[in-house]
């Protein structure tokens, strides 16, 4: 099933990508296709809002790791926000919960200075 992905810019230089759905091998490429040009576009901060992501497997994690690494190469701040307990648990299983900057809310992720 296709993901619903909505991009918004709450402030200059800040891109928020809100994902709705289950991110698995079947849908991770869709996330990658949306995320890659945003990182390449020169945003200063990229926030991936995961509040409506009900499931994520290693394919989704891999896509976000790619996003993080691409962002770091470009000096872009990459943040995740509003993970539910199941999705956060997958990050913890992968020991990536401390690698990413994770915020409880998207508002906090947007408002925090880089």
């Amino acid at each position: 099933m296709a993901l619903e992905i909505v991009l918004r810019h709450p402030a200059a230089g800040i891109a928020v990508l809100a994902i709705n759905g289950e991110v698995d091998m079947g849908s991770a490429s869709q996330l990658r296709d949306q995320l890659t040009p945003i990182i390449a576009s020169g945003a200063g901060v990229v926030v991936v809002d995961l509040s409506k992501v009900s499931y994520m497997d290693s394919s989704g994690i891999a896509t976000l790791v790619e996003g993080l690494q691409s962002s770091m190469k470009r000096g872009i701040t990459f943040r995740l926000s509003d993970l539910n307990s199941a999705v956060l648990d997958v990050f913890k299983l992968a020991r990536l919960d401390s690698v990413f900057k994770v915020y409880d809310t998207t508002e906090a992720a947007v408002d925090d200075q880089p």
Binding site: M1, E22, D24, M25, G26, Y55, D57, S58, S59, I61, A62, T63, V65, E66, Q69, S85, A86, D89, V90, L93, A94, R95, L96, V99
Partner: protein
Amino acid sequence: MSDVTALDGSVTVTVPSSPKYLRIVRRVLEAYMEDLSLDPAELQHIILAVDEACSNVIKYAYAFDDTKKISVSVSDTTGQLEFTIRDFGKKPDVTSITPRDLDDVRPGGLGTHFIQCVMDEVSYDINNDVGTLLRMSIKYRVAETAEKVD
């Protein structure tokens, strides 16, 4: 395109080897385990492990050929869930199936780690003429009840 059969307390779902059918496998497993009152976190872990195993079949056994089939079976034997995943593709070199170093932060390579973290036992039977039978099992925890009856 997909087939679900139930026999003697076990359920088997057979799907085409396309990533878009992974969520059907997850739905069937969720429905099967719904009545077991599993700890919610453990339920999610189990779903993840089986999903990752199916993803590995698509990637490695079938090299993303979506014309093949994957059969996933689940059965509950007094507190232990047993899963089998049958493919008819390229057999793995079982000696090379090891989780990667998690300190090496990079995309990919987490599926085997998740499977081995979650499941109590994992074994690969490559003795069939074609393909592989992956067996996984886990003794599951029942969720604590909200109310106690005196």
